[in-house]
Symmetry: C2
Subunit: 293 residues, 2 copies
């Protein structure tokens, strides 16, 4: 595949993240074919000139580059490996899964892709809705150097930090590192704030002191400030985060690696889902702490 | 007390932090009286014009402002409330404990100080040796507004961020918030890196991707980079950190607040001390994780 503005791109999965990302590809002038489980989410892209396809396979049949951004590993499996999936029709194409999914599945997909004369990349992102909207995602890529070089101009339409992390699966593994760090960090942020609340401190003043020091970072300074404001609206859904933590724990187990902080964080989050909080933002972990004011 | 360059300052506790901090006070032109358990650590300050005192009480007897920066709460108790302690001789003085210590002890000291016509502040710091050396500490202060206003010119000699957090004990409580956030954050950093190591990723490249996103912060970007370099030298000793976490857990228990992330982190650190790693830096928590390369 030789990259040009005429390179035909297919985009599958038009949720909050996907439709923002696909919008940048369309805006750059690429012919864009799209598919989504529910068609209504494609409306804005179709109005701007994207073409609708009835199946992932149809998208693949008319694209040089296919990008997927769906929900869970089971969705990835269906969209890629299912009867009407991408790999049922793709031929000499560059295939990129940007869903946060299992490294094992990423390697499996890359194997099948090779039998179809295709190259596959796993390229999960970090940066959330704002990063997707502003094309400022961090994109962590696994796959061959050659496929990475081909994909770079398109990935650069969506992200500012696009880094190849290694062979197939390495993008997903890197995303797992990211989620594992966050899993315990947000727990520390919630516990520190719960303590300050219980101790009767003025929390915005506390944040002023501790946000600038060794405790500081995105989780404390951005999500901690939201917690203090009582704002639990989702930047990133708890139910998606728990999916990621489950993948990470499973992979860690397969590597005989014990990660007790991750296990604890996942347990607390799973309890919040049971309590009906799965569609709140990850900072709602704060609700796990019975701070007495 | 009316502050001027002639205000006589006493400084007790001349470890790595204390002697750097006392140096700034001396450099600003204040007459400085000093005491330390072992005299040799005072040598540099004495050469620059500080006066040696044989007991904390002697320091207090000849100072308008007394500052202490010692190790453990039991040291604070001895230096302040012991037979030759600060409060045995202080009179109409401003007394500031900058040790990270128990909020309960801070309130007790403030009570005794009041009976000696003294004002006491608890003013623990964050920023470590570098912050102390460069006079860029974050200082979290508990005590009366009036005492805080009096102390401010002197505290500003040592720190850039000097914030009153409330009445006696509030400085210590704020420092506990700081340590509680860090306790789980560093655990997340170690687990994320251990996972990446086990998955065979190139860790500096991983840090490039994840350090700029939602996982980013001091613990990942500074201490995580040290872990990747195999550098476990102390910026902050594990044995001091475990002391802080113990105080935090005790206070949380008294408030009937459960903090499982903090408890887990402390357990992992306590094990490292048993294994003889107490004088390594906090990032050596990484040694808890049996990552297979």
């Amino acid at each position: 595949m030789e990259y040009s503005k005429k390179t035909r791109v297919g985009f599958i999965g038009l949720g909050i993240m996907g439709r923002n990302m696909a919008g940048h590809v369309l805006a750059a002038g690429h012919p864009l074919a799209v598919y989504n489980r529910s068609r209504d989410k494609a409306a804005e892209l179709l109005a701007k000139g994207a073409r609708w396809c009835d199946t992932p396979g149809d998208v693949a049949a008319q694209s040089d580059v296919v990008i997927t951004m769906v929900g869970f590993p089971r969705d990835v499996e269906e969209v890629w490996l299912g009867p009407d999936g991408v790999l049922s029709r793709a031929r000499d194409a560059l295939l990129i899964d940007m869903t946060t999914s299992s490294p094992e599945l990423a390697r499996r997909i890359a194997g099948v892709a090779a039998t179809r004369h295709c190259e596959a990349l796993d390229a999960p992102v970090s940066g959330g809705e704002i990063g997707a909207r502003d094309a400022k995602l961090s994109i962590m890529v696994g796959g061959s150097e050659q496929a990475f070089a081909q994909a770079l101009p398109i990935l650069k339409l969506m992200g500012t930090k696009v880094v190849r992390q290694g062979e197939a699966g390495a993008g997903q593994h890197t995303k797992m590192c990211n989620q594992i760090v966050i899993a315990s960090t947000i727990m520390g942020v919630c516990e520190g704030i719960a303590y300050g609340q219980a101790a009767g401190l003025h929390l915005p003043t506390v944040l002023q002191s501790i946000g600038a020091g060794a405790a500081g970072g995105f989780q404390l300074n951005v999500l901690g400030a939201k917690i203090i404001d009582g704002d639990f609206a989702p930047g990133f859904f708890i139910e998606h985060f728990v999916k990621d933590l489950g993948i990470a724990l499973e992979e860690a187990k397969a590597m005989e690696l014990e990660l007790p902080g991750l296990a604890l964080s996942r347990k607390l989050y799973a309890r919040l889902i049971e309590q009906g909080h799965g569609r709140l933002g990850t900072q709602a972990l704060y609700k796990s702490y019975g701070a007495r004011a």
